[in-house]
Amino acid sequence: APPRHSCPKLTPRQVSNIIRQNDVTAEPDSRCAVKYFEYNQLAANHPIEDRRAEAKCLKTPGMLFGIFDGHGGTACAQAVSERLFEYVAVSLLPQDVLEDCSRAMKSDALPFDLLEWYRNDADYTNIELAGVYRRSLERYIDETLSAMDVDEFDMAAALEMAALRLDADIGHEVLSSGGGGERMHVNLESLEAAFSGCTACVAHVDGPHLHVANVGDSRAVVGYLDDNDAWAAAAMSRDHCAENADEVARVRAEHAVEERHTVIKSERLLGELIPLRAFGDFRYKWSKATLQSMLADTRQSRLLIPQHYASPPYLTARPEVAYRRLTARDKFLVMATDGLWEQLDSEKVVRLVAEHVSGAQTLDPYVTHKEPITFGEVNGGLLARKTGLANRAVDTNVASHLIRNALGLTDRGVDHGKLSMMLSLPAEVTRNFRDDITVTVIYFDGDYLAHN
């Protein structure tokens, strides 16, 4: 930790202003399984590389929630946050609706809306590439229609298809553009999206059916009351990173035995990338030849071929899909980027949200941290914890509450000194102490779930 005296102290109000500046509470306009949801984002990068999105499907029942942790720039995360839900929505459409959409898209006169977005005034969309995006989507609709499977609909397969298709399109939009200097001019933005990368964690809530599709190391957790009325966390995703042994095994199995030690090195893909699945990042997907030609065309040093690049692709945007049938005992879903989970584990997050709802607050059990220890020292520690509890800052937005705890929690409760330090770090070192954090908490409507 940096020496505290070097950090300017913020007042509690300043701390709260920083923490709360992006927090939003919203509720769906009609009764459904989602009672309301709250989100917040805190930047560590300048600008923040995380994105999020929330929308209601208009042609099918259900709502979509997503968080996207970008790296190497914001372009990929921005693109995926704008586009993935449309691809998902298309994948969910039955044939007749799909045909209507196809017609509507081809005629500018017909209204065409797959989604109703819950955007706030800080969100933006990429106007310049709207046409490119639309053409890709149109093609996806047509191809889906022609390849329409008469077999039973499979939600997991649909979500996988949507993600993979979007990722392919992001790459395709770079490669398939016209030639020469014009290409460079037109598609610099597309190129940015393909150069950079992002993880995605998307939840689809339709009545009691909850699906979470995850690509990368963000995480979704359901907080529920177990049979003993105790709070418990149900994981809805697995982190795709080197700490996940299954994931490491998957990656290694996809490549030759000789690459065993190079494909994941220093807990990173090819010694470079932390998430083992991601959108974009075509530097780990395209063939050597493609990369070399790109490099020649663009002179983008970012496209330098990674070491030990023997058998691409190394990276995929194929999501892992988890399903949970919700009951009235399932109270909320927390989705957050790894910036939160680095500081708090799933159980603690569920406890913090549950306590935020009930207005109570507890700490981890006190443990005597040294030996020998006197009772005076023990009592001093306990009193400090009591003060911490009494002084707890109350964020009405639960996402802010989680962010505050992620940055400020000590064994005595949330510590203002620690918060102040974490929020007033010099810009150039901030990223060494914390990551961008995006948190979305979706509260389920227990009565609705109990009666539908």
């Binding site: 003993n228 006190y366 005597t368 006197t374 009772f375 306990l382 914890r385 009591k386």
Partner: protein, 877 residues
């Protein structure tokens, strides 16, 4: 002198089995006998003590089953304090015996860790000192030396304590400590030596019954035929009783909670440091290997194992919770300043079992014969083990225990007490009550508003302040002035209203009292226990004649007060009996008799089923309408004649009131005033209540509560069962011989005749205090010492202010102790009435008092009524 009957015909049953040991073949858990007279379940300090005491009485065909290892549940982590003077005389006697036994064991070379270091309790407030005065009084009665000392004297006894903030201290030099594990091992070893058997690793899976009597015990190693089963399973006792009984579940309302103490590393603590209790700080401390062991009883405890004790919970502890213990830790550091620098050795958080009222759970289960319960020690297991072990052995061998434990009897409970939610919520409060100041009239705040009369909300709107008895909310008094009567928590007494001095309700209750005498008042008495007894022919008359000491063969429509005596002649119950028809009776008993009395009736019912006993307590709302104007009010309520000639005292008529029919009206008031108690089918209660208020308002009818009733009855020397009358007191001692008819046969007659010949050793009296300053003196609340010519001669069982006499009145027994032997000598009335100067000691101050053995003649407010007195025969006209 003992009578062995209350457990049935013990002697005959025992002869059924010889000591002929046939064994199951078993690989683990040792070899299990196929039969035993007694199977004790639970190898903690209670179970091993029970086994030891049974073998000491010569019953060696007895076996103890322990599912894990001896002491593995709670006993092994007990703190081992042995304090003798408890909240009640009975449990003090048990603890006193325990202490003598442990001391004897140690002297005979059996390891117990007994150390007579004495105990020192410090009082932070003057109110706390008042309770210490009560302890000194009980100590005197039991001849256990205990004295109040100054702060500096306390400091001399325990130099490590801080004494600048205490008002005084209590010093009991004969108290001490033991080492619980050693004690369990000693009980077990001695029991084995006497021929008792202990089998570890043997789990009881089912208690089988035959004709609702214990028959066999099924275990994981086979089945044992037995006569008696003793549940000493501590924190397992509830689930053992609930789930592991063949015919029906047994109520053992016990719930474990977490209990915390810390132990320091050695820091030069004197081996003989007294046990220190700082009740106001809710903490205790004892020496432990040159350091200290310090624990506490926090205000809101943490229940644990609500669903089930986890499998194989042996020698295990619960997770530390330092935050929960912090206030007690702070209190310890406050009392012993050097504790701050002492080093932590460990914190212990172990489960302890608590009960709904903080008293033990002891006795024969009302559901199944020969199923004995000895559990729910409320963290007092080590102190109680010797005494409760002996009492259990006596209950089995003699039919009853030598120390009467009716307050701890398992038969005080109803089903509601066994409700797991009720228990869980209630025990959060019981733990703290162990040390918190127990003010008069303080009541539980958890698990309330459970049983309520149909008029509860009406009375609450009128300002009723409720008190709970057997889960039933009864109006104690009416706070008519308060603005916030509709606030729900105002219907209980505030903690801040509680005091040892003049209470907040003094004037309000005077008004109610006056209405009960001179005007007309209304008391909701629905909580009373009500039974219907019937037979085809005269069987019910014969049955009740045998159970009641008074003559119940009264004319139809008559009412009589009678005791139901036990085989000692003591009061098993005291009730009002109504003859509804030639072959039908209506029996009204105190609320706390509901389970106990039904068990007593069922035990003696004719085996041919010819008498039918039915509990109808919940069917009726009971309203007591009393006072000089009650006859006028009643006359306007009903078309039946209420004239003295048509409806004299002690009669019963079934009448119509308003539009309602079938109201049972009794011309008694339970207060010695003119009055009627109406037993109203619940659905008519509101109708009649509204009619009553309508008619009564012209007569100034007032609501009254139990405090007014108490004042009325204590002033007139009416004794109540559960306070002044108990299984250990007889009608001769209570001055109610006139209600005993020796010309017929009844249970207890032999004992009473014997007592009549030998004379009584105690006598119920009323003491009226002459010069008590209501405003400045501490009030009497019960338990105060009586002195006769300067010599301790008894204690108060009830106390109340008499608003007619304008005096503090106390009821209690006086006795004459032989100074040398400690034995009680028979006394005559003259012992009280001649050459006797009585004093009452309240919180250390003595007040001269006048003693009466008959009800005082109170100045009647009007001449309309002749007065009924409880202590003299009432001639039926």
């Amino acid at each position: 002198m003992r009578f062995s009957c209350s457990l049935g015909n013990t002697g005959q049953l025992c002869a059924k089995y010889g000591k002929q040991v046939v064994r199951h073949n078993s690989t683990d858990g040792g070899s299990l006998p196929q039969q035993a007279r007694v199977v004790v379940c639970g190898g903690g300090v209670i179970g091993t003590s029970v086994l030891y005491h049974l073998t000491e009485r010569g019953w060696n065909d007895v076996v103890l089953l322990e599912q894990g290892r001896l002491s593995c549940g709670t006993s092994w982590h007990a703190a081992g304090l042995v304090g003798q003077i408890k909240a009640g005389i009975a449990e003090s006697k048990l603890a006193q015996y325990s202490r003598e036994l442990y001391k004897k064991f140690e002297e005979e070379g059996h390891a117990t860790g007994w150390k007579q270091c004495g105990s020192l309790s410090v009082a932070r407030t003057k109110d706390r000192l008042i309770t210490y005065h009560g302890i000194v009084t009980r100590g005197k009665l039991l001849r256990i030396g205990a004295e109040l000392i100054t702060p500096s004297e306390a400091k001399k006894l325990a130099p490590i304590i801080r004494d600048d903030d205490i008002e005084g201290a209590l010093w009991t030099p004969s108290d001490g400590v033991v080492s619980p594990s050693d004690l369990v091992a000693t009980f077990a070893r001695l029991a084995r030596k006497n021929g008792g058997e202990i089998i570890e690793g043997c789990r009881v899976e089912n208690v089988l019954t035959k004709n609702l009597r214990v028959d066999k015990v099924q275990t994981n190693h086979g089945t044992i035929e037995c006569e008696y089963f003793v549940n000493c399973a501590g924190m397992w006792s509830h689930q053992l009783a609930r789930y592991m009984t063949q015919t029906k579940k047994i109520r053992v309302p016990v719930h474990p909670t977490e209990h915390f103490y810390v132990v320091t590393k050695p820091f030069g603590i004197d081996n003989m440091l007294p046990v220190i209790r700082d009740h106001d700080g809710q903490i205790y401390m004892r020496e432990w290997s040159g350091g200290l062991l310090a624990g506490g009883f926090e205000t809101v405890a943490k229940p644990v194992f609500h669903d089930m004790v986890p499998k194989d919970f042996e020698f295990q502890l619960l997770p530390e919770d330092w935050d929960h213990f912090q206030e007690q830790l702070q209190a310890v550091m406050h009392r012993i300043p050097t504790f701050k620098d002492a080093q932590l050795r460990h914190m212990t958080n172990g489960p302890e079992s608590f009960t709904p009222d903080g008293k033990m759970v002891f006795g024969e289960a009302p559901e199944i014969d020969n199923y004995i319960v000895a559990t729910g020690m409320n963290s007092q297991g080590i102190m109680m083990a010797g005494g409760i072990g002996r009492a259990t052995a006596e209950l089995i061998v003699d039919g009853e225990s030598s120390v009467d434990l009716w307050q701890h009897d398992v038969k005080r409970f109803l089903d509601l007490h066994n409700n797991r939610k009720f228990l869980k919520d209630r025990v959060t409060e019981i733990v703290g009550k162990h040390y918190l100041l127990n003010y008069p009239l303080s009541d539980h705040i958890t698990s309330r508003n459970l049983r309520t009369s149909s008029l509860y909300s009406c009375l609450q709107a009128c300002g009723a302040i409720y008190g709970q008895s057997c889960g039933y909310e009864r109006p104690m008094w009416f706070d008519c002035d308060s603005d916030n009567v509709l606030e729900s928590d105002r219907s209980f007494l505030y903690q801040t209203d509680l005091t040892f001095r003049k209470p907040v309700w003094f004037d309000a209750v005077r008004e109610e009292y006056m209405a009960c005498r001179q005007g007309v008042a209304l008391i909701d008495m629905s909580s009373f226990t009500k039974f219907e007894l019937k037979s085809a022919g005269r069987e019910v008359v014969d049955f009740l004649q045998r159970l009641c000491s008074n003559d119940v063969d009264i004319p139809v429509g008559h009412v009589i007060h009678t005791g139901m005596q036990n085989y000692h002649g003591g009061y098993e119950n005291d009730c009002s009996i109504v003859r509804m028809a030639e072959n039908e009776y209506f029996v009204i008993s105190p609320s706390i008799q509901q389970t106990r009395c039904m068990k007593w009736l069922r035990r003696h019912l004719p085996e041919d089923g010819s008498v039918n006993a039915n509990d109808v307590s919940s069917m009726y709302t009971s309203l007591n309408i009393l006072g000089d104007k009650s006859r006028d009010v009643m006359s306007r309520l009903t078309e039946s004649s209420m004239l003295p000639a048509d409806f004299p005292y002690f009669r019963c008529r079934v009448i119509d009131i308003g539009y309602a029919t079938g109201v049972i009206a009794l011309s008694i008031s339970h207060a010695g005033e003119l009055g009627w108690v109406l037993y109203i089918p619940n659905e008519y209660a509101l109708h009649i209540y509204n009619r009553l208020l309508d008619v009564g308002k012209h007569y100034g009818i007032k609501h009254a509560g139990y405090l007014a009733l108490r004042s009325l009855r204590v002033e007139k020397l009416f004794a109540h069962w559960g306070q002044d009358l108990t299984p250990a007191t007889t009608p001769l001692e209570a001055g109610r011989a006139f209600r005993v008819k020796f010309d017929k046969d009844f249970i207890g007659k032999e004992a009473l005749l014997h007592q009549k010949k030998e004379g009584v050793c105690k006598r119920l009296v009323q003491l009226q205090i002459n010069k008590h300053d209501l405003e400045n003196d501490i009030w009497p609340w019960g338990g105060e010492a009586f002195y006769r010519n300067g010599k301790l001669c008894g204690t108060a069982t009830s106390a109340a202010y008499g608003y007619t006499l304008n005096k503090q009145c106390l009821i209690g027994y006086v006795h004459d102790t032989d100074e040398e032997t400690g034995q009680l000598r028979p006394i005559e009335n003259d012992f009280i009435l001649k050459n006797a100067e009585f004093e009452v000691e309240i919180a250390g101050k003595r007040f001269p008092a006048k003693a009466l053995i008959y009800s005082p003649k109170l100045v009647s407010m009007t001449t309309a009524t002749s007065q009924y007195t409880a202590t003299q025969p009432w001639s039926r006209n």
